[in-house]
Structure formats: C-alpha cells, structure tokens
Amino acid sequence: MYRYDEFDHEFVESRVAQFRDQVARRVSGELSEDNFKPIRLQNGVYLQLHAYMLRVAVPYGTLNSQQMRMLAHIARKYDRDYGHFTTRQNIQFNWPKLEDIPDILADLASVEMHAIQTSGNCIRNVTADHFAGASADEIADPRPYAEILRQWSTVHPEFLFLPRKFKIAVIGAGVDRAAMQFHDIGLEVKRNAADELGFGVFIGGGLGRTPMVAKQVRDFVAEADLLSYCEAILRVYNLSGRRDNKYKARIKILVHETGIDELKQQIEAEFERIREGVLKLPDEDVRSIEAYFAAPAFEELPNESAKLEAAQAADPGFARWVGRNVSAHKAPGYAIVTVALKGTGEAPGDATSAQMDVLAGLGEAYSFDELRVSHEQNVILPHVRLDDLKAVYDALLAHGMASANAGLITDIIACPGLDYCALATARSIPVAQEISQRFSDLDRQNEIGELKLKISGCINACGHHHAGHIGILGVEKRGEELYQVTLGGSGDETAAIGEIIGRGFASDEITNAVETLVDTYLARRLSDDETFLEAYRRMGPAPFKEALYPPAPATEAA
C-alpha cells in the first residue's frame, strides 16, 4: 500500500499545525463559529446533534494494522470506545472534544492518516473497490489511480469551494463493488483495443433527494490524461454548477439541465486546452505510485486446502461463514474475507476499540498487514491463506465479528440517523436493529439469499436507500417517524434507482412490511437461484404492492 514520503509527511504535519492554530483561535473566541465553520469542515469536523464529530479519511478504504490500531487508540482515548465505519470507506468518531481534535489529527499523522476534505463542498475521499488488488476478476488495481487523485485533489486551491460536495470512485473490474455509477465522477479502469490502460469516465451520478445514475462521458481516457480530464470536469462544474439552491448544486443536476452532450463538449474543449500541459502524467511517475501497491509475496499454493475442507466438515457454522463471507482471490490458495460488522441487533458499521485491535492483529498475522473498509460498512481481510481461514474465523467468533451474513438481508447499510445526525429526520439504527433481529435466523437468511437492504434517516440518502434492493427512507410526518419503501435499486454494474412502492410505514410497522416483501418474493421466485432483485426486475412492483397494501375487503354480507 501507499507509504508517505517526506513530502507527504511534511504536508500533513503542517496541515495539523495550521488547524491547531485555527482551533486555538476558535477556542479563544477570535474566530467566530461562522468563520471557523468552513475551516473545520475541510478538516473533517462536523457539529452534530450532541457533539462534534470527526470523520477520518481512509483513502480508497485501504489500511494497515498500525493504522487500525491507531483508530482503536483514538476511540479509547478520545471517544466512547467505538467508531463508525461509513459508506464512503471512512470512519467517524462521534464524541471528540474540539480541543482534542488537533491532538487526534497529530496521532493520525503519525501513522500517515488525516481527515482532510472528509466534509465540505470539495473533492471528498476518493473511494475504490474494497477487493482491489485481490479479486480474481480484476483488470488492474484501481488504487494507484485513486492515490494519484487523492494527491491532486488534496487542498486543490481551485476546488475547495465548489457548488457542492464532489465524490470520485474508481473500480478496476467489470463487476462494480464501489457503486461507481452513483458518484460525481466514476472511473472504470479498462484496456483499449491497443491493450493500453485507461478509464471509462462517468459523471453525474448521485443519491440524495434527486437520485441519478451517472452518464458515460468518455468511453476511454488514456492513463496519462487522468488528471487533465478530471480537472477539466471540475473546472466546468465549478464555473457552471448551480449555487442558487443547494439541492440543485451537485454535478448531476448540471448534467441533467445542460444535457450530457453539451456538457461533454465543454469538458472536451477544456481538456483539449490543458491535456498536453503540466498535469499530463509521466509514465514513470504512475509506475512508481503503482509500485507501492504491488501484490504481496504470495506463496505458491495449491488451489484447494485439505485443512479448510476438514474444518468445514467439522464445523457447520464455519462452513456457512465460508460460504457467505469468503470470496475468490486472484492468487491460488488465498481468499478474501469479509468481516461483517453487522452482528444481530448491532448498529451497522460500528466497531469497538477491542474489535479494531483484533482486526489489526488478524491483518498482521494473516493478511500481509492489510485491511480494507468497504462502502457496505464492513471490514475486509484481503489476502488470507485458505489454510488460515479457520483461525481467522475462530478469532472473529470470539470477538463477536463472525456473522455469516455478507450480502444477506441483515448485512444492512444504515446511516447514523436521528440518534446522532443533525440533518436526520428519523432514526435509522433502531430500524436496522429490529430488522436484524427479526431475520436473525441464518437458515432463513440463506434461504432468502442475496438481498441488499439499505436505510437512510433523511432524504440526503447517506444510507444509500435508493440503491437498495429494498430501500428504507425515514421521514418525519406530523411529528411521527414514517418509513418509505423503495424496491429494485442496485449499486452494482447494473445500477438502478429504487422505485417508491407506496405510502410509508410507522416505526412499529416497517419490519413487518419488510417481512411481507420477503415472503412475497419467496412465494413467487422461479427458483432458489432467482435473487430478490432478479425477481423484482421480472415481476415489477405489482405483486409487492398488492401484498403490502391489500385491497380493502368487499363489503361483508350481513
């Protein structure tokens, strides 16, 4: 993974010193909250319902064990002993004191981490496929490009006060595990007919109150032109994006109102002007960044493990976990482990400091010192020997992290909701907890199969409800929390926005409604292999609507 050079160290340290001075000016009263706000936001500090919240960047979701241990340390020392992994591969601490934040940032800097641009109307943490560098289906590792974009976008002087926040995701496989088409810029690493590396470029995706799937603006941009093309997109957006209404300020609205063809012309014209300039990437510089992400020294192993097979035969719980939470690796004899931070009744994405320490230890012992955070709020051990899977499982089991539910109905994405967030209009976590409890029977979950359920506590859609096979949106209506259901959304390469199915449900009805939807699917699916999403796409909303809102019975005979 990427390691800071002297430049990076000096940069982050001077940024911490700068913020320390700004916090001191705020605490002394020299800086008003109004003047401080844009500064703290660009350092990841939010003011939430009850306290400040610090969002720490995990660039493209990649961490080493030392970094994970530091996150545990911060949770223990400065917070209430836990952290919350987010849908943007970051981690949030919910209870830090403002005066402590410069020290937290200094601690982070000591392990090559920061909180720069994790909020504010700027280019946010660049995300990537959480299986990058490990999955069997990869064309190229997207992380070197994500790192180059991280550097270019960090304190880019021109793009710190955009019309609205700006999110970039990079994937390196045909399968999309990063919801790339729901980003302001989505990049798909690919090879052209001449076998050269480059990117398919998508713009204008996003969730929020006006969800849109991104539109392809370029089939292929050469590797060397990555920064020039992105800078052209950002410049056009910064000049023309709407600032009169923050709900119409994302680039998706500009794409929608201007039209992709006209906007593409503007982007291409700017790109042509700058493409041979200073942003053109020298091949050797790209290769030197790429070298940081070279595959670890995998042993030559057979594709099968007798040890694993024996353990599976002896322990059905382990076998089930392997079936759900272990994915194919590109190197024979290795596997990718998804650690689901979704135990029954837990808040999705939360991890205690003890759990983070365990994960760090497992990364160190069994995964070449590497961990990932997924946008589905899980932690990944990307490079585990098949022979070691049982040892990893046993350790996870001992610390409550062995839920065998990856991709199942209880592997829920949920935003913090009204329990923490100043924007929320309804609670998300209690709904996730209740659904998780209702479907806690693993046999039943496996019978249901792959089902992505996503919950947002307000229309800003941090819980990605539009992209859920079942999406739940909490709103406030006449003082009560009301939960609207959308069906048929998807965040993968077949990206789609869920459709609202009908009137919402009260908090004590929503779990029943989900159960009704699931039962309807089970009764009508063509086979065990037809997933919920496939069944929905085949049948449309009608049978689900009918089940949720049965027609009033005909007048009964006297």
């Binding site: 430049f7 700068q18 800086l31 550097q151 270019w152 002087p157 021109e158 793009f159 006060f161 990437l281």
Partner: protein, 171 residues
C-alpha cells in the same frame, strides 16, 4: 469599501469603481461593471486618460471580456460569499487560458484562510472587508501551506522526483 492589498502589501487604491448609472469620469483609473463595459465599450477603450478595469460577478463569464483583455489593466472577480468559489476558476481562466498579465483582484467576502488559495489560482490583489483578515495581512500573517499536491497558476518549484504533479512554494 475595503482595504487594498497588492502582493499582500497594503496600498492606497488608485482605482475608482463605477456601477449602475454613474457616468464614467475622465482622467482616472476606473473599474466598471460588465454592463457598463459592454454598453460603453467603444468610448471606454478609446479613452487615453485613464486605465480600464472590469468587475465580474460569478455568473458573468470571462469569455465576455476575453477579446479585450489586452486593453484591460485590472479584472476584479467578486466573491459574494466566501463559499462561492466560482471566481477561483475564472482567475485560472484569465491566467492560464488567456495569458492575462494585468492585476486580478479578489473582492467581496475575501478571508485570510483563502488568500493562499486565491494566490495559487492567479489572484495578486485583494480588496478586503473582513476585519480579521485586514488585521492578519497588516501583520504579515498568511497561514497558507507551502507544499502543494498540484500545479496551479502560481510560480512554484516542482516537487520530489517521483511525483511531478507536486509543488513547493518559492522561498
């Protein structure tokens, strides 16, 4: 009325801003709105007793004055609020796309923590209204970082060998 800083030094402002229906006086340096510039372009450019500058609101594009830039001495770009960053990109268009060498001044809600970013985008003058910013600039404080991860419109040294997009401020 703000306080003018050119290259971070406080100066008396020799320029008079003309807005609305006000007639353009002779014999002085004037900064006019885009409306006035467009409606009185011939007369203004024919003046030989006073320099001309144009003031642009965020939504008034640089392209509206691009053909006349060699006759203009100042382009003033407004920040109606610090949060409206349109003018950052317009400064870069002026410097990079059009090679404008005159004064690019930031006016409006200009704050100390943004001055460094503005300089990097090509601004070299600021009309500051914010008291804390005037105080800081008067003391010579500028909290800008001296390391940058990307080239911009300013003059910098290239960064370390392995990432030529990085930059270091000139001493």
């Amino acid at each position: 009325m703000g306080t003018l800083f050119v290259d971070l030094d406080q100066r008396d402002d020799p320029w008079i801003s003309i807005e609305g229906e006000q007639p353009v006086p002779d014999g002085v340096d004037v900064i006019v709105s885009l409306d006035i510039f467009q409606s009185q372009r011939e007369e203004l450019l024919a003046r030989n007793d006073g320099r001309i500058g144009v003031y642009l609101e965020p939504l008034e594009p640089v392209s509206a004055i691009a053909g006349d830039l060699d006759r203009l001495s100042v382009v003033a770009l407004n920040f109606p609020s610090f949060a409206d960053g349109t003018s950052f990109s317009k400064a870069r268009q002026l410097r990079d796309a059009h090679g404008f060498e005159g004064e690019v001044r930031g006016v409006g809600d200009v704050r100390i923590d943004q001055i460094g970013h503005m300089q990097r985008c090509g601004f070299n003058a600021f009309v500051v209204e914010n008291d804390a910013t005037i105080a800081a600039l008067s003391k010579g404080d500028n909290p800008a970082l001296h390391l940058h991860y990307q080239p911009a419109a300013d003059e910098t040294k290239t960064g370390p060998g392995a990432k030529r997009w990085a930059r270091r401020a000139l001493d």
